[in-house]
């Protein structure tokens, strides 16, 4: 059973009398435990595909199966599915709520999902990404880009997801910080059974991280 099974995925909208295809007849499969890459320039449709897998974009047509179960278009992810798919976002400056403390950012998902021992789990999540518990009382603007991105990864892993979607996770970071984040992602993958789908315009990052990849351009898979 593939973790992700997409067939004939289409996303389009009307512009005047034309129909613009953001994603055009995309089909792909991602197997359990692999790191799958979606490469392409901006506007290629790769981020749209990722957001559909994340359940953030419900307006699509075609066939989508996650963990073997069909997903209906125009519906939200709920329950277990919502927990099993998580995402790390591109911009460290935009993915953490500016007025929340790190503690709140990491506690809230646990509280909403009624997990016990919230405090201990937050400390554990921070340790996993190389932080001591004292960082929990800071706010995002007090952290650097690399630090914020690590918090984003910690947050994504809180609920023990099976599928982690990575939207250009290092493109806003310096090369040296990028290396640290990529190493973190590699280490995490070695210690738990998780599947990654990585989107990037940087072929070197994809070549380093991914077992398999496809290239997208103009909404289609071209390679």
């Amino acid at each position: 059973m593939s973790v992700v099974d997409i067939s004939g995925l289409n996303v389009s909208f009307r512009q005047g009398s034309d129909e613009v295809h953001v994603v055009n007849d995309v089909s792909l499969k991602v197997e359990q435990g692999e790191t799958f890459g979606l490469v392409g320039a901006s506007g290629s449709g790769k981020s749209t595909v990722l957001r559909i897998l994340a359940g953030l974009n419900p307006d699509w047509s075609g066939s989508l199966r996650l963990f073997g179960d069909p997903v209906q278009p125009h519906s939200r992810f709920t329950g277990e599915l919502r927990r099993r798919v998580q995402m790390v976002f591109q911009h460290p400056y935009g993915s953490l709520h500016p007025s929340h403390t790190i503690r709140r950012i990491l506690s809230e998902p646990l509280i909403v999902h009624k997990r016990p021992n919230v405090r201990a789990r937050v400390t554990e999540a921070l340790a996993q990404v190389g932080f001591g518990p004292e960082i929990a009382d800071r706010r995002p603007h007090q952290l650097s880009g690399g630090q914020r991105q690590r918090i984003g990864i910690a947050r994504a892993l809180l609920l023990d997801p099976d599928l982690l979607l990575l939207d250009e996770p290092t493109s806003a970071l310096d090369t040296s910080v990028q290396a640290e984040i990529l190493n973190l992602l590699t280490t995490i993958k070695r210690t738990r059974p998780i599947t990654y789908v990585l989107v990037s315009h940087d072929r070197d990052v994809v070549a380093h991280m991914c077992d398999r990849q496809v290239v997208m351009s103009g909404g289609k898979i071209v390679a």
């Binding site: 994340a54 359940g55 953030l56 919502r82 927990r83 798919v85 998580q86 995402m87 976002f89 591109q90 911009h91 400056y93 935009g94 993915s95 953490l96 709520h97 500016p98 007025s99 809230e108 998902p109 909403v112 999902h113 706010r139 603007h141 880009g145 984003g152 947050r155 809180l158 609920l159 806003a172 310096d174």
Partner: protein, 295 residues
């Protein structure tokens, strides 16, 4: 875009609430105009709270023998047509004005926020309907509409507050909707949704903290105008009813004898001016906080 630019852009979009309070205090007491505004407002509040202790005379007590006296040592601002001490009435007059101000703010701001955030967050036809409704209410001249409501409901403090509220919320709704629509596109909101955070928790915990600071500042900018509207309603006899002292009503009474006993209209007129000015100075100080060029 360099990382430095990105960071500046992000923090300017969503100022941290704790940081804003700190800068608020700093600016209020760093700027002479804002400080003056704060001092005046504090004086007004004290006058309203301690009116019975401060006022030299009973504001309602009539003494026809002492009517229409000019300002003197015994009556600092003279007496009106019923022999009531103008200064005492002025001091007690702070109460209806500030009460009305508080009522209007406390009711119109939440209504505006609910409509604005609801519209901005839902999008689609809900947003369109709510915003068109807001536009319609906003298209009416506020005071005229308020007059109509008071005419229907009858005069009095609560009714005038209601009238001003019903006509005053659209500005807050529009601002809240714009800010909410911008936040809706943000990654941190998407991240919250992925964590399963929805509904009231999302709106109150994630959207409201970012919309509220801007809304409060918008309210502050309106305070001076609300004072004027309250006085206008009083002037037309639609506010608090006599014999309770109210500045607008006092001005109205004073116009009848304005050429001979000018102080009866001038004193409350000056009070209205000073109160409105005080809130405008405060708003100026708050506006300075938002000016990014300052730093």
């Amino acid at each position: 875009m360099t990382l430095e630019h990105a960071e500046a852009a992000a923090t300017s979009i969503a100022p941290d609430a704790g940081e804003t309070s700190r800068r608020l205090l700093l600016t209020l007491f760093g700027s002479p105009t804002a400080t003056l505004g704060v001092i005046l407002i504090v004086l007004l509040l004290l006058a309203a709270l301690f009116a019975p202790l401060i006022a030299p005379y009973d504001p309602i007590a009539q003494d026809i023998a002492q009517r229409l006296l000019p300002p003197s040592a015994t009556h600092w601002l003279g007496t009106d047509g019923f022999g009531r001490d103008v200064l005492s009435r002025l001091i007690f007059g702070t109460r209806p004005s500030l009460t009305l101000l508080a009522l209007v703010v406390v009711t119109s701001l939440p209504i505006g926020l609910v409509v604005g955030i609801g519209a901005g967050f839902s999008g689609g036809w809900v947003e369109r309907v709510l915003m068109r409704f807001t536009d319609i209410v906003m298209a009416f001249p506020q005071l005229v509409l308020a007059l109509a409501f008071v005419a229907m409901l009858g005069p009095g403090l609560i009714n005038s507050a209601l009238a001003l509220t019903i006509t005053g919320w659209p500005a807050y709704a529009r601002q809240a909707r714009t800010e909410t629509a911008a936040i809706r596109q943000s990654d941190f909101l998407a991240a919250a949704q992925m964590a399963g955070i929805t509904g009231p928790r999302l709106l109150f915990g994630h959207v409201l903290p970012l919309v509220l600071p801007g809304a409060i500042i918008r309210v502050a900018l309106d305070l001076g105008g609300i004072i004027l509207n309250a006085a206008a309603l009083g002037f037309l006899g639609l506010g608090v009813q006599p014999p309770t002292p109210e500045w607008g009503t006092m001005v109205s009474d004073g116009t009848k004898v304005i050429f001979d006993q000018w102080w009866i209209a001038a004193a409350p007129g000056a009070a209205i001016l000073i109160a409105s000015l005080a809130f405008n100075l405060l708003a100026d100080g708050l506006r300075d906080i938002l000016d990014p060029r300052r730093e």
